[in-house]
């Protein structure tokens, strides 16, 4: 029996066990929506803006290890989706985005709602396809899922012209796929892994630095085993949080621009650095030249060869899936008779503890007069038992959440790290809640970020998503304000948020529960009440101290040891 291209698209999604499709209809995808209407296996989640569809699919993927799928129409549907696609690309999130295109005969004629989707998304996808023949739809979608999930994951776009979605052919879903020009890495080189093992055992000032690759690869257990076996300090990047338990005694906190003093100093002064699924980006090691001033041996495990030796020189590169490489490294270490240099490592820990004392840990001065944002996050951690899925937007609230919500499990911290996309948090939380029904999902945001996709409160109502929105409302675009205070002579150019809506009434207008919390004494009771409302979306509008800044801080372009501690300002 012959099926239309649209029916084939839906059948492919069924074959891929796609439960939820996040999307928004339009002219170029009418046939696909018609095919969707006539089945009930793939459930469609109607968002209110295409950017949100992609973020929701992204949150779905990040919290579940499945491929997130979004469906948008041509032209503005696609361009609206681009921010979401770029967000997923920067953080290596497996996603398939299906976009409608004008009919093949109209391509290139500046047709209504035409945009060069493949051209516009090329720099921010792992790969993309324009399907010109209905016979190619099934094999292309198969390839798209394979590419999205294998190797270093990423978003893949499949652009389908309207006429192709209405042409007919026989449907056969390929059971497997090979792409002759694509060979994702698997196991690492055994000789390099043995060399790494030897180098770690000889280290006097060792450091383990783990990023989002650990989470993506599902290698948290291996990482924890390795750290505990060696007894070395371990730090996480923003993307890696939860990849190693924050409550473990070997954890020295997040590193980087707003990392702990001890993590940054240990990173700077170690003699052997094991980098696992991390990419030495500018927000992590700051100034590259400054970082290179201290000689150290670097072992770098990453599935993407292009991530190795991109910003720093590496002594032992290991290209491979983090989980497989760590498994083999653990075997090497357990199989040998040598143990780490005990006395030296003890002395190194003493040094790390001294730094911890100098840094004074993560701290802030609490107040009984005005709500401190850090206090809200600490209470959030306490009340959710540290076990919630937390999404965030971008800015100060994101850093405070990273610092004060001590993530012990992977895939619980859902944040836009690479692209830093404001407006990510709420739609991402929708995807998280979809794939984790019954779980506690909170979106930590600010009054700036939340307004970038606030229309999704309507989607949450339609699909009964009981997300808890923790908005730290300080009336400012706080992170930009902080930089203006530090580096631009207190000239708060356009960072004051004037004419804010009444968020309580706004939440109520969308059919949700709104709460305004002004007094520090009300923080805990409010959070308790909100989280007790299992079936309601609760919007908590916390009026927080507008002068509060994120510390510690490594200023942009500076080195890790040039970190500013709270009391220095």
């Amino acid at each position: 029996m012959e099926l239309t291209g649209a029916e084939i698209v839906i059948r492919c999604l069924q074959e891929e066990q796609v439960e939820y499709l996040f999307g928004y209809p339009g002219g170029a995808v009418l046939f696909i929506y018609d095919a969707l209407f006539q089945q009930d296996k793939v459930k469609h989640i109607l968002v209110r803006h295409e950017q949100a569809a992609v973020h929701a699919a992204d949150g779905y993927a990040r919290s579940s290890d499945k491929v997130g799928v979004a469906l948008v129409t041509s032209g503005p549907g696609l361009t609206n989706a681009v921010t979401g696609i770029a967000t997923a690309y920067m953080d290596s999130i497996p996603m398939v985005i299906i976009s409608g295109q004008v009919p093949t005969y109209a391509i290139g004629e500046d047709a209504f709602q035409e945009v060069d989707a493949v051209g516009i998304t090329r720099p921010c996808v792992k790969h993309n396809f324009l399907v010109k023949d209905v016979k190619d739809i099934a094999s292309t979608i198969k390839k798209a899922f394979y590419l999205a999930k294998s190797g270093r994951p990423g978003p893949v776009l499949v652009d389908i012209p309207k006429d192709v979605s209405n042409h007919k052919t026989t449907f056969e879903y390929p059971p497997s796929v090979t792409i002759r020009s694509y060979h994702p890495a698997g196991k690492g080189d055994s000789r390099q892994i043995r060399l790494a093992g030897q180098m770690l055992l000889e280290a006097k000032r060792p450091m383990i630095y783990a990023g989002g690759g650990v989470v993506l690869s599902g290698a948290s257990a291996q990482l924890a085993d390795l750290v505990r076996l060696l007894g070395f300090p371990c730090t996480n990047t923003l993307m890696g949080l939860g990849g190693f338990p924050a409550s473990d005694k070997h954890f020295v906190g997040m590193l980087g621009m707003h990392g702990t003093y001890e993590a940054n100093m240990a990173m700077q002064h170690c003699d052997v650095l094991l980098a696992v699924g991390a990419r030495f980006d500018d927000r992590v090691i700051g100034n590259v030249e400054h970082f290179a001033e201290v000689p150290r041996k670097i072992i770098h495990i990453d599935i993407d060869p292009a991530s190795i030796a991109k910003r720093v020189k590496v002594d032992v590169p290991i290209v491979g899936d983090v989980k497989l490489v760590l498994d083999e490294l653990l075997d090497v270490l357990r199989g040998g008779s040598k143990t780490p240099a005990a006395a030296e490592v003890v002395a190194w820990w003493k040094q790390v503890d001294e730094w911890r004392a100098i840094g004074g840990g993560l701290r802030y001065k609490n107040s009984s007069e005005i709500i401190k944002p850090q206090f809200v996050i600490e209470k959030l951690h306490e009340i959710t038992g540290g076990d919630a899925f937390i999404t965030s937007d971008v800015g100060q609230h994101q850093m405070w959440t990273a610092q004060y919500y001590k993530f012990d499990k992977p895939r619980r911290w859902i944040t836009s790290g690479g692209l830093g996309t404001m407006g990510f948090g709420l739609p991402a939380a929708m995807g998280v809640q979809m794939v984790n029904p019954g779980a506690t999902v909170a979106c930590v945001t600010g009054e700036g970020s939340i307004q970038m996709n606030i229309q999704e409160l309507s989607t949450c109502k339609q699909f009964h998503l009981p997300i808890k929105i923790v908005s730290l409302n300080n009336g400012y675009l706080g992170m930009v304000r902080q930089w203006q205070e530090f580096f631009h002579g207190n000239r708060y150019s356009e960072t004051y948020m004037n004419a804010l809506p009444d968020f309580v009434r706004l939440a109520e207008a969308y059919g949700h529960v709104g709460m305004r919390i002004v007094n520090p004494a009300d923080v805990e009771p409010a959070l308790k009440e909100a989280f007790a409302r299992k079936n309601d979306l609760v919007f908590m509008d916390f009026k927080t101290d507008p002068t509060e800044n994120v510390f510690p801080m490594v200023p942009g372009g500076k080195g890790l040891s040039q970190i500013i501690l709270a009391e220095e300002l």
């Binding site: 493949v118 051209g119 090329r122 720099p123 792992k126 790969h127 324009l130 590419l147 792409i179 002759r180 020009s181 694509y182 993407d304 060869p305 292009a306 030796a309 991109k310 020189k313």
Partner: protein, 163 residues
């Protein structure tokens, strides 16, 4: 340092723009780029002449390899290789300089492929550096038009780039 990178890629619409886009997005130098199908019509062979520090060249190689459409790649400078570029040059000619032009063309193994009342067109195939020398020998004043294909490269002897 100047490098010649040779690669085989899927002969598909948009493949060239993936490579060109990569170079512009990451700010890599591109001196020349040539592309044409191979004996296997599903594959295109591309030669890219670029320059940069060892670290930059390493990144270029890795980033190119990362493109899903790129099937195989070699940096020709990693071993012995041959390089050729085709150039067509139209020069201003008159009875007084035709002999001299012919002589210079012969020295560089060029061929005169077209002659008109005031012009003479010479075809040359050689290394990029030799083509530069030829242009210098002719002199900028006489040159009316220059067309170069960009370098094509191939490994010497048993060094073969094939799927």
């Amino acid at each position: 340092m100047r490098h010649i990178i040779s690669l085989l890629m899927e002969n598909e619409a948009g493949a060239l723009s993936r490579v060109a886009g990569l170079f512009s997005a990451r700010g890599y130098n591109i001196e020349s780029l040539t592309v044409a199908p191979t004996e296997d019509p599903t594959l295109s062979r591309m030669t890219i002449v670029t320059s940069g520090s060892d670290a930059v060249i390493e990144q270029i190689n890795k980033q190119l390899n990362k493109l899903v459409d790129v099937a195989a790649l070699i940096d020709l400078n990693d071993g012995e290789h041959l390089e050729r570029e085709l150039m067509l040059v139209k020069v201003s000619a008159h009875s007084g300089n035709r002999e001299e032009l012919k002589r210079i063309s012969d020295i560089f193994h060029g061929h005169i492929i077209d002659v008109s009342k005031h012009t003479c067109t010479i075809e040359l195939t050689n290394t990029c550096a030799m083509l530069d020398s030829f242009l210098e020998a002719i002199g900028r004043d006489l040159i009316l038009e220059t067309v170069r294909t960009g370098a094509s490269g191939i490994g010497r002897g048993e060094r073969i780039l094939k799927l």
